[in-house]
Symmetry: C2
Subunit: 409 residues, 2 copies
């Protein structure tokens, strides 16, 4: 199940960025499950990773390899992704396997081992099937190409329980010329990223300084991937990478940085929202906007408390305008000295709650009309300050239970 | 659905404690939905209530009435409970209705208005159907009796989505004679109590000082009702009341206090566990024991993170020994400087995780054999200190979604 239509966009080629994939039989026969993304030597690369204490072996290795590249003044040249196995909870063997897969690709591609960054997604706790993975490297490498089809096939190759490939692309003019930002992502369940989503790969041909790229990645991820939740479960493998190849125009002055930042935010938000629209079992796409909070953290706490409430999520699934559950979830959020008489809750343009209870003009008919829609905005004003946050989530359906009671992830 | 059998126990009568119920048509026709519990003038009464900021009108009124009784040196004489309507999110009208229902019962019973404590459970945000409720008071009052059948009918009269009445009773000897503790409770969904569960009513004939009673209630609730979760949703109406009628032996010296405390804890824990066994859609009863934490709060944080994980809960439902999901949930718990290489996770007597990954002796067969059982213990040792916590939870099944997509609660 998935909310709305979401065709994969046309991706303009980025000079020197080549994507390849292979069917290595890791996930299941006849399914792309190994993806190689090649970057030019000029690329600056930033990454953010899961904060789960049990982080996966590829996360540990990717972070170490980025560090090593920076020490040596080199660029990471390959992102190596497999689906079907997360290589998480695999202890020392998992680390050895992640290093060995980087080494094998590096030898075939003629780069240093630490110029390969590994990423894995799929079942936790099973050893990485090294024989199949290694056999998939050559065909994946051989198939690399720059075109839109290569982006789409890579987008398909990284999926797990996702029902469709997710991409976003923007081309914009800055003072020195035209630049493009392309991104793909995957994720459907175990989605409550804390630093980044399950997997996100974004590449631009902009020329941009490393420290600025690092900062822009952190900022845009904070307002996109870090503001989505399917099921509150932060994955062991979350990673979001951003590369700037330097083949295109430079992003230097403040006006250009702002233009680029806005475009990058748009790509990140589109990708993050695409994960929610394709959330496991999702039948609704829900925007939770919390305003008038004392701090952004307070606004996020209220938004996530509502977004994680199984009772709110099942009411959304049922298209039931059961606003009492929203009120109850807001009321249990961790807010100090919470005066609920100041809280106002709106469902799209229908006022649900004010003065500590049901809004006087509310009718079940008006509430039900909004709840019947596929895309729903719930706005919660706390009446305590000026800070806001927006969080996106999906509903809790029978299909979510079916998927997760059947799928070994 | 519910886990295991759980017959309602025989409840010895407590002198002066009379329970009555009526079918007032609030929940549905032919269903007990108004309950009156009468206490003798000698009773000491303690209560703990929800910390949900949107607390229900009856919670506000019950707290105010307890306060007023204490100021006047009087005892609360009646607990008035209705199911089918929570009188929550109902603003000023809700408060007026709660006060009016106390006043009506007080007049019929010949006590002061503040000697009646109101409790409601059911749908949030609908006005209390006062005409039906008031019409139910006389028959409920008329039917009051001391016997075990009256306890059981009261236990039935407070249920919502529960599938069965829940009671516990213990008789023990203290130095001055024999005393009994009887309790009933209800709750099935919107269960993650923070102070107390949905509704719990416990009465003893012990003679016990008010301040000691208050403390024992807090302590035993902290280790019972405050350690259960069905769906992480803290209700607007949680309340747990404890009355000591003073008709029986006195609990004064340290040895007696310890005996009484242990017995009270057993009653509270039995009632709290009964809620989990009858949790909405529950097919499993799960004990999460976290040991070797730096603080009890840290142990509770880890236990609740695992207990609230939809992925762990669906794996439990599927009887799938998907230990990677337990590892991932532990890894995202809010623990500072978390060294996961020291974490040990056991499923009953099967070691799942050690040294940062799968335990060397683990076999899928051994894990699956435990997961197939109805009652499962997951033990997580953090290897950081000496503190522990135990939390009880249920699984996430299709029936949970069905119940909450269908039921307006």
């Amino acid at each position: 199940m998935a909310v709305g239509k979401s065709p994969f966009p046309v991706m303009p080629p980025l000079a020197g960025v080549r994507l390849g994939s292979a069917m290595a039989g890791i996930k299941k026969p006849g399914r792309r499950d190994v993806v190689v993304i090649e970057l030019p030597e000029s690329a600056a690369v930033s990454g953010v990773f899961t904060r789960n204490a049990f982080c996966a072996a590829p996360v540990t290795v990717a972070k170490a390899h980025i560090e090593r590249c920076r020490e040596n003044g080199q660029s990471p040249r390959y992102w190596l992704v497999n689906t079907g196995n997360a290589n998480a909870g695999t202890g020392k063997q998992g680390l050895q396997d992640a290093y060995a897969s980087c080494k094998a690709l590096a030898e075939q591609a003629g780069v240093a081992e630490h110029q390969v960054l590994p990423f894995s997604t799929g079942v936790i706790g099973e050893p990485l099937p090294m024989e199949r993975l290694l056999a998939g490297l050559a065909p994946a490498l051989y198939s690399t190409a720059e075109g839109s089809q290569a982006w789409q096939q890579a987008g398909e190759g990284i999926l797990t329980t996702d029902t469709r490939a997710k991409g976003a692309s923007i081309t914009l003019d800055v003072s020195g010329g035209t630049i493009t930002i392309n991104g793909i992502t995957k994720g459907s369940g175990m989605i409550k990223p804390n630093m980044a989503t399950m997997l996100g790969f974004v590449v631009t041909d902009a020329t941009i300084e490393q420290s600025l790229l690092d900062r822009l990645l952190r900022e845009t991820v904070d307002a996109s991937f870090n503001c989505i939740t399917v099921d509150s479960d932060t994955s062991t493998n979350d990673a979001c990478l951003l590369a700037a190849t330097g083949a295109g125009a430079a992003v230097i002055n403040d006006a250009d940085i702002e233009l680029f930042r806005d475009a990058l935010q748009q790509v990140m938000t589109t990708l993050a929202q695409a994960i929610i629209r394709d959330g496991e079992g999702a039948t609704k796409f829900v925007t939770l906007q919390v305003d008038d909070a004392k701090s952004r953290q307070e606004a996020l706490d209220v938004a996530f408390t509502v977004a994680h409430s199984p009772l709110v999520k099942t009411a959304l699934y049922a298209s039931d305008a059961n606003w009492g559950r929203i009120l109850a979830a807001v009321g249990r959020a961790p807010v100090d000295n919470f005066d609920v008489s100041r809280v106002v809750i709106d469902l799209a343009d229908v006022r649900l709650v004010e003065g500590g209870g049901r809004a006087s003009g509310y009718t079940e008919k008006a509430g039900s009309a909004v709840m019947a829609q596929e895309e729903i905005t719930i706005r919660i004003s706390l009446g305590r300050g000026d800070e806001s946050a927006t969080v996106w989530t999906s509903d809790l359906s029978h299909d979510y239970v079916t998927i997760n009671a059947d799928y070994r992830s």
